[in-house]
Point group: D2
Amino acid sequence: MGGQQPEDPAGRRDPGAHRVLRAARPEGTRVRVGAVEVGGPGFVVMAGPCAVEGAEQLELAARAVAQAGAHLLRGGVFKPRTSPYAFQGMGEPGLKLLVDAGRRHGLPIISEVMETEQLPLMAEHSDILQVGARNMQNFGLLRALGRLRKPVLLKRGLSATVQEWLNAAEYILAGGNEQVLLCERGIRTFETSMRNTLDLAAVAWAKERTHLPVIVDPSHATGIPSLITPMSLAAAACGADGLLIEVHPRPEQALCDGQQAMSPGDFATLMQRLPGVLAAVDRHLWTPAVPAQIAGAR
Amino acid sequence: MGGQQPEDPAGRRDPGAHRVLRAARPEGTRVRVGAVEVGGPGFVVMAGPCAVEGAEQLELAARAVAQAGAHLLRGGVFKPRTSPYAFQGMGEPGLKLLVDAGRRHGLPIISEVMETEQLPLMAEHSDILQVGARNMQNFGLLRALGRLRKPVLLKRGLSATVQEWLNAAEYILAGGNEQVLLCERGIRTFETSMRNTLDLAAVAWAKERTHLPVIVDPSHATGIPSLITPMSLAAAACGADGLLIEVHPRPEQALCDGQQAMSPGDFATLMQRLPGVLAAVDRHLWTPAVPAQIAGAR
Amino acid sequence: MGGQQPEDPAGRRDPGAHRVLRAARPEGTRVRVGAVEVGGPGFVVMAGPCAVEGAEQLELAARAVAQAGAHLLRGGVFKPRTSPYAFQGMGEPGLKLLVDAGRRHGLPIISEVMETEQLPLMAEHSDILQVGARNMQNFGLLRALGRLRKPVLLKRGLSATVQEWLNAAEYILAGGNEQVLLCERGIRTFETSMRNTLDLAAVAWAKERTHLPVIVDPSHATGIPSLITPMSLAAAACGADGLLIEVHPRPEQALCDGQQAMSPGDFATLMQRLPGVLAAVDRHLWTPAVPAQIAGAR
Amino acid sequence: MGGQQPEDPAGRRDPGAHRVLRAARPEGTRVRVGAVEVGGPGFVVMAGPCAVEGAEQLELAARAVAQAGAHLLRGGVFKPRTSPYAFQGMGEPGLKLLVDAGRRHGLPIISEVMETEQLPLMAEHSDILQVGARNMQNFGLLRALGRLRKPVLLKRGLSATVQEWLNAAEYILAGGNEQVLLCERGIRTFETSMRNTLDLAAVAWAKERTHLPVIVDPSHATGIPSLITPMSLAAAACGADGLLIEVHPRPEQALCDGQQAMSPGDFATLMQRLPGVLAAVDRHLWTPAVPAQIAGAR
């Protein structure tokens, strides 16, 4: 075959990830989700319970995060669980609850999709399709998402390098879907004090390398409620474009990862503390009252 | 809700992984693949190219591994690749080549399945369905495999604990498919001299904890051809039930992971060296001439 | 021996680390270094070259960091190097240069001590004695430092848990020296894009657990100059008490770790950006003009 | 300065580690310890308690390992402990017990040295000076060991790459002391089922790269007694030159790491199982009855 580069029987060569690179869109990608824009100067907060558990729990959570100023409502209805016997999510009935709660409180919704088979349902109802860390290299799922024209939030794998994370996003972009948000949620290291090790330098590094917005999930990253506020402020300070936070009306009763959920009160306090840090880095909480063109000219 | 245990709305509780535990089948599971038995005293070697590239390459590889004494022919036709532009495998035409080569040389075949959609095709033609490290927690795929009655080889995830690996196997067993082989293929650590860090202590530990057979893949684990022989001998010495090895007729020309493939000559030498180590731990290379009952009585 | 607890022949039992715990001094420890106070509301910046290389280099660096508002001058004269043939530091002549430069610019100095034998010299001349990551569990050195009454900056080991880091500090406190600063400088993980993985959650976690001040070294943590500013701002946002930053007048000519040093211009810009973030978390750059008592009463 | 290579003020350049490389002594280094030779075809087993606790404990341990066929007696008298309040070893009185026990049973001894100050005492009495994992980059200690003419066993650091380990050995060789044994004792990874992750591929890799003998410590590596036998057999199979094993007459009463010590009975069984595996790789347990020249010609 002669050349040094691997070549496949069809003669294609691997050009490497290129659609995701900053050079492909130096001004950065802005992703529209309903009225909300992610990736511009406005900082976007997505909050809600890890799992939708029922109508009352979700209503309490949705009301709390909406009142505190969150921009999207999160809630899992299909849950990837280490054990086959753990609560696997409410499925379609949970999705309906989530859609209704979002509508009642004027919040677009984000929910996880685990399998290609769930795409038709989820793509119809969820405003952002979340891909979990364990599926970051589920290439069939990534390809299927590339065929949609819907925003996707792609979590970094537990042990994925930044380059592998960008390559996974390239799978989606290569299919023509350019509405991709990256999400850092902590990597797996030797340190066991916390659930994972939040890699904020990877956020700053990714922001240099790619034009895609980068979101931070401090809840999964630390697993410790008292660390969510400092890590959220740090994420805002280092250039992240938003947060994905678990809030539960009664964290101690959560069916899933309750020990890491914020209470509504703590979340409201965090929302009051974010603007100061954001202002120091020429950002602000996203708001329809500050049009992007004006904010960008500051 | 009263109790301390998480409970889902339907009232189920998580009993934890139990079907995989050694206590559930103290004598150990033996998995039949054609005439070959994995998990008994016979040590089973699966070998072949990382990817099926064409008829000639596969025939040369199959002939070489058969002559050297391998028991199964491996070959990927659907390849999970970090980059969407890298060679993704030959797909169904490659599978046909693999089936034919196996038949010609009297070897059952093992090939990777990446998506639920590939299951009908793969389950019909491949004797063992391999689940790659990146799919170890692709729970939809695991559940679908649990509905089959076919042997599955489940690779350990890059950063999966032994417990998470057993839990992933539990997903398959919970569906009623008990023919599961575990495969250690190296974990991701700080050490970059080698591709991954082969965790042989996890093999010995898994053998204590579960009744499922444990296979070792020294090719992906090290990525260095000269280390495959010592690591194969070490795997045999510490209680593994078999090996999964990449052999390519011309490693330097391989389309996928060529730098880690063994040459046919080195593989033949390894096959000659295994019996000595196996004898020292009361095992032997699997052979139909030593019926399992007799070998078990040694 | 009866009991379940390990007990040594002399009858002592291990009470665990307790002097370092927050409960032992809930108000937090403040460490005085010359006129500077670390651990109060004032945020302290230590900056200078990785290694003292000569009079001119050091003077340029010292002038630059002093003008930009740094509070201490850092500079290594004994350098731990992976290779025995790499530049090992200027030793005592370098220390004299550092002392003189600090005096000229009104900055206390911090320099690394590698061995007990260097303690008399270093304790006489350096205002803070730095213990490097590779020496975090050099228990003989820690004990010797415990016998001094000088501030010590204890870097976290490359693969030390937060608990092990606190235990190492306990060795110093147990000797009666309570002037200990902790310093997070990145941990070793699988991620190789950056030199190490900066673990800011460990900073917030340590601040909860211990009364000792916590400093962040973004230079060693990332090894990438463009990441130092965002990581410094993030450190300020999440509760760190100060920074330890490498600044070199000509980074590209540095004898040691030059690729990660900031230029004087970038450092000056960082110093202008810190106050905004600090104000958002009720902190400020340390300054003698804001007496600690008043600041503490805010 | 013009050139691209870092250069220090004295004009030396870093040639990189070279004395440790296989090319510097292709036939391999053989280290004499009393009558025992390490690094030739004979496989050497060093065994004994983690810590010397008293005369009776040590006598029982020494007798047991001598009767089972061990070649050296190990025992710590200066113990590096995470906590300053844990049992720190018996010190000089313990060393005397160890020397006497070794003499009574005809075994050379190996014991850990933690600080340069301990060198005169330890170098006089211990046949091998052990450097623990936490001191692998205690460069002052390494340089001091380089000035001795005594065998040194250098453990790999918890998160040291193979290259860094070789560089640490180079510090000793650079001082003129060529009697260095490397010891793999497990690295720190995300996996918490075991104390550390035994990296046997690093053993095979190190054997390729360096002429120094490589020993394996399965006790610290796994922390689980039932895994010591399989990991010892695996070490023998993959080319290690010997083992360092913790044996305690009453593991459950050990003052230090008792949970990982082998019982005398299990150790004796292991010693009976090693010869079979060693024979399969053309090695044998070291014995004065098989002169090295003859064995080398096999």
